[in-house]
């Protein structure tokens, strides 16, 4: 039998002597003498002494007669079957209004200034409870700002507890301005985690965070953030990258010192340039946070640990058929980034839906569930095939163009650089230790 290099394997030059091989279908990394690579490219007999059996076992080398379309289909089918989670996330939007008016907010254009009815909260929770899921369910209280009405938050948490007991993780995503001891006590009682958006530790880096009078709200946000930390509420920090803070990210994480999770977010509305300096900064951020036992979500948890534990990351959002988004009006949709007023992807309504409705069989959820990197032709030959997740396509599919199988190009550019650097870093660090 003659073996050739698997065409899906990615090659990255490590130095003059070595080349890194990365197989997206096994997420294995192999460091190879470049002179051998030249031989493998031409094809080698199975009896050749030049072949390391690991290369065959891990599919770096494959039979030259392999049908690669069939190979791709079989491998992707196995991976996708492991990712069939069902509906395991629900965003419950308590208000379509906010006390802030952040310049980059991606949902404020759809605000109709209403709050959810209590009967809708109960029905939404019961409907969600009936959905099939292989994972523990997550309920995310969202808005607008979810903390505008204490009694409504209390009511919602009580109902979640009475319907789910401890079988759901509860997260509140807030701007932090309304946080006080009353809320903190409520969060402790119901084991709530808080996602808070803070774009650095200065007014300048938080230049987008303004109220309706255009007043910078950094100090008020920071006060809420400090309260959560001091009371040991589990916190996830979200740092939205803007032109005003992209160079500040390293400085920011150096000042984080409590157990938490950290994530950076990409903007929908503002075009950003992610140069090599920024990519280097991101890796410094991971180094800094790892030493502090703080979990960086975008690169370390989602991509790096995917390689470590072979998790195959082919979707980057539960919006790909795994979540319900319930609006304050009672409409139910796939993603809160879509136009609520014009009903794009918000065709269901709590007013007339059966509690037994199975969203995994709904054509919208089913279609979105199929959007993975395996179903986007341009991803097939990409180094990020099983690590990128395909990004977010909300902004690409507005108006008349509703093709969800197109690329999120900004995400592509960034993650191609990140994943390439990540694999090179892994290889370089390990080569140093082994030689």
């Amino acid at each position: 039998m003659i073996y050739i290099l698997n065409p899906f394997v990615k090659l990255i030059k490590l130095d003059d002597k070595y080349t890194v091989l990365y197989n997206p279908f096994s997420q294995e990394i192999y460091i190879l003498l470049t002179k051998l690579l030249k031989i493998y490219k031409k094809g080698v007999l199975s009896s050749s002494i030049d072949i390391d059996v690991d290369l065959i076992e891990l599919d770096f080398l494959v039979d030259q007669n392999t049908n690669f379309l069939d190979y791709f289909y079989k491998k992707s089918k196995i991976i996708l079957s492991q990712k069939d989670y069902g509906i395991h996330v629900m965003y419950l939007l308590l208000h379509s209004k906010c006390n802030l008016n952040c310049k980059y907010c991606f949902v404020k254009d759809y605000f109709d200034n209403i709050s959810i009815k209590k009967e809708h909260i109960i029905k939404a929770l019961k409907l969600y409870k009936n959905q099939k899921s292989k994972l523990k369910k997550k309920i995310i209280l969202y808005g607008g700002e979810p903390l505008l009405d204490y009694n409504l938050v209390k009511f919602t948490l009580e109902k979640i507890y009475s319907i789910f007991k401890k079988n759901a993780n509860i997260i509140i995503v807030t701007n932090g301005v309304k946080l006080d001891l009353k809320y903190v006590n409520l969060f402790k009682k119901y084991n709530v985690s808080v996602g808070i958006s803070i774009d650095g530790f200065s007014s300048k880096t938080n230049s987008n965070r303004v109220n309706h009078n255009n007043k910078n709200m950094y100090l008020e946000i920071k006060k809420g953030f400090d309260l959560l930390i001091s009371k040991k509420i589990p916190v996830s920090v979200s740092y939205t990258l803007t032109k005003d803070n992209i160079r500040d990210i390293k400085h920011f994480v150096k000042n984080l010192d409590t157990k938490m999770s950290f994530s950076f977010n990409l903007l929908h509305k503002q075009k950003m340039v992610f140069d090599d300096k920024f990519i280097d900064d991101l890796f410094d951020v991971i180094n800094i946070l790892t030493k502090k036992n703080i979990l960086e979500d975008r690169i370390y948890y989602r991509r790096f640990l995917a390689i470590v534990f072979k998790r195959f990351y082919v979707k980057d959002c539960a919006g790909m058929g795994n979540q319900l988004v319930v609006l304050p009006s009672g409409k139910i949709g796939i993603c809160h980034g879509y136009d609520w007023k014009h009903k794009t992807y918000f065709e269901k309504n709590l007013n007339d839906i059966s509690l037994k409705y199975d969203f995994t069989k709904d054509y919208i959820w089913d279609t979105w569930n199929k959007r993975s990197t395996f179903n986007i032709l341009n991803c097939w030959n990409c180094i990020g095939l099983t690590l990128c997740g395909g990004g977010c396509i909300v902004n690409k599919t507005k108006g008349k163009d509703l093709n969800i199988y197109q690329l999120d190009l900004d995400n592509c550019k960034l993650y191609k650089k990140i994943i390439r650097k990540l694999i090179l870093k892994i290889a370089k660090e390990n080569l140093k230790k082994k030689i």
Binding site: E28, Y85, H88, K259, I307, N430
Partner: protein, 47 residues
């Protein structure tokens, strides 16, 4: 030269115990998620 998971895991921090359960507990502290799927962690994917 094949890199095994344990080697890879120590890329960012040397001599750290590779324990998937423990790692998931770190995530648990944030959103109490114990699924270990590595995807869709809602506490930070809300953009």
């Amino acid at each position: 030269m094949r890199l095994d998971s344990r080697d890879i895991f120590n890329t960012f921090q040397d001599k750290k115990e590779m324990n998937e359960k423990k790692l998931n507990e770190i995530m648990c502290s944030v959103c109490h998620c114990d699924c270990g799927c590595g995807s869709d962690c809602p506490c930070s994917s809300c953009y």
